[in-house]
Symmetry: C2
Subunit: 395 residues, 2 copies
């Protein structure tokens, strides 16, 4: 095999700035918390940590839902949890698809034997509530599912109308908040969201590995009336909730140190306050857009539908996408994302999330991008810094 | 809500010694590696880390299987992965049940619509290969599944005969190595194991959160011939393998920092060497047993079937189980485990795993246990230290 233990060196990932679609930069406070001594999953100290984490998650989700916990897997495990606990074979499920993550939802519904009713929109545009109303007419779907912030396109979906349609049709309203939670308002009780999941590695600025979820009272009622067992043992919330609830019944070993990290990341959010945090994301987003447009580039998503945390910039003609991203990584230690699926090669995905959502990073991005484009002979209009500065000055 | 960010203090889990059924003690090296800067899941540096982690996992599993990766969830997610990728509705699956984790396997097979053929043994005894042979007679099950080290009972299952029966009957041999990998020999190629999973928080001494798995060539062939899609999107190895393989196709965001931790934990194992590591576990196990028996207590499992990494000690009559464990935790900051399921209140589960598998901990356990029992008026014969010392001296 030629295997030698000495071939493996000390870890040294350097000092990347993460402005891709996630993970985002993780603060030293969170990294230090994650490295605290591991204790048992039924240790009295850890049970306290669990309770605190739940309280903090309720704060960030703006909810009173008792069942508000981090699922022991990444955001996609959260997505699966939200469908596998509610979709039984033959159930009608409306899924709104305008990007990769809506597509993934539809895939999961099919695997579970649900009857998929798909409502499409262009990749880069919000879902039209009228299209959903039409799809629902004469039916009574069990769930209407939509992505709040489509990480693949940079669209922020308005939720009010869709929530109303779900209520009228008696459906549970299921929302993906992976890229919005902690960066844009996700007030699930006020918004009438029954089932929600998120991820830790976006605007919460915690390493990837957990997926916060919350189920409201209507969802719990449906869960309790299931006719078949949940097909996934690992994600079966009828059991997992007994561990996170008062019973403390062992289900699986919780990822202790990841939960330490999440608790600290949420605590940082609570210290900043949600309102200030959303305002910070919006301000940096506006500055970023102003700079990008001043450079002569354009945003992929129309202004009214833009997600403040994930910005899709159209790649100018004649640009070598890969080479630009490689230059950013090698010369500036700066990560941005490429396009996914239908948008591969067409957009860059620039995240300004959580700890990474800072003026210094916005300006670093302008400098790095202008430098990389100019080196390729792609014309860039000077003035990004001035345009962004004007936005910051007016705040 | 009475919510105040200042209610949440700095994390301070103290300095537990973890001699329960897992998690086990995590070394400072692993904790430091886990706290390295988070980078993107497609960052060239991280891709290297992934390759190295796979090489190290192959070393620890003693395999050449290309598909050898950590699943992004705890050990139970690994268990689910191993069944959900292979069991299609109607498939016959033999599951050996002699504890909690065999029971869980059977539960999962049922959820997936498999035809369960259950082979039972007493909790605390190994599975009799003849019983499996009988169950298989006249059938051709797709899988024969067994737990190598039953964490709930402390039994180490001999695998040779079962592997032979699987081969003869054309079944895939699926083994749970959660509590053995890195502490007792798990040479999957040599042992004819086709499908295997483990956990990071036992003898690998890494925090919980990942589940190393490996699929052999026969298993891959079966996977490729599936008639139905894998019901779990998250754990679908037909897709996940494209991310860990040469294609690097995005599936879900890998838990970056957990993989840093696993890589370091595996590197520590490679530095020690498997043979030395297994010998260390066996020696501390023998010393622990000698001490326990010298105290006048008895082991739950017959000598020939004992697992060296997880020791079940029968609780002496008249003992307040909970009070003993509370004393150990409060006065000695030492965690041991209580019994699970049928063995609740009947045994203590004493892990000596990975970083925690040390003479100093074995002696700490004797002191703490004798002290706690004596305080309760339970009679203990002196001499544990002497008996254990004799074992260490003879090594």
């Amino acid at each position: 095999m030629g295997f030698n233990a000495k071939d493996f060196r000390d870890l040294d990932p350097g000092d990347r700035v993460l402005m891709g679609p996630g993970p985002s930069d993780v603060s030293q406070r969170v990294l230090r918390a994650m490295a605290a001594t591991c204790v048992g999953h039924l240790d009295p100290y850890f049970l306290e940590v669990m309770d605190e984490t739940q309280r903090l998650l309720r704060y960030v989700f703006q909810t009173e839902n008792p069942l508000t916990i981090p699922v022991s897997g990444t955001g996609s495990a959260g997505m699966e949890t939200c469908f596998v606990n509610f979709v039984e074979p033959g159930d009608e499920v409306v899924v709104c698809v305008n990007g990769v993550f809506g597509t993934r939802m539809a895939d999961i519904v099919n695997r579970l034997g649900g009857r998929l009713i798909q409502v499409d929109a262009e990749w880069g545009r919000a879902i039209d509530p009228e299209a959903v109303r039409k799809a629902v007419e004469g039916r009574s779907p069990k769930i209407i599912a939509v992505v709040h912030a489509e990480t693949s396109t940079g669209v922020l979906q308005p939720l009010e109308d869709l929530s109303g349609i779900a209520k009228e049709s008696g459906a549970l309203f299921l929302v993906d908040t992976v890229t919005s939670l902690g960066g844009a308002e996700v007030a699930i009780d006020k918004m009438g969201i029954d089932i929600v999941y998120s991820g830790t590695q976006k605007c919460l600025s915690c390493p990837p590995g957990l997926s916060p979820i919350s189920f409201g009272p209507k969802a719990i009622e449906v869960l309790e009336k299931r006719k078949t067992p949940v097909v996934s043992w690992y994600l079966d919330m009828t059991m997992v909730q007994s561990y996170w609830g008062a019973e403390r019944k062992y289900h699986h070993t919780a990822p202790i140190n990841m939960i330490y990290a999440l608790r600290e990341a949420l605590r940082i959010i609570a210290e900043e306050g949600l309102e200030a945090r959303f305002a910070r994301h919006l301000l940096n987003h506006k500055a970023l857009v102003a700079g990008v447009e001043a450079m002569g580039l354009s945003m992929h998503v129309p202004e009214a539908e833009r997600c403040p945390t994930l910005n899709t910039v159209s790649i100018p003609e004649g640009t070598d996408d890969l080479k630009v991203r490689k230059t950013l990584l090698q010369e500036f230690s700066l990560e941005i994302g490429g396009g996914l699926g239908a948008l591969a090669g067409k957009v860059w995905r620039v995240g300004i999330m959580g700890h990474a959502c800072r003026k210094k990073n916005v300006f670093l991005f302008f400098g790095a991008l202008e430098s990389a484009l100019t080196a390729q002979g792609v014309k860039v209009t000077p003035g990004a810094i001035e345009a962004a500065s004007a936005v910051y000055a007016s705040a």
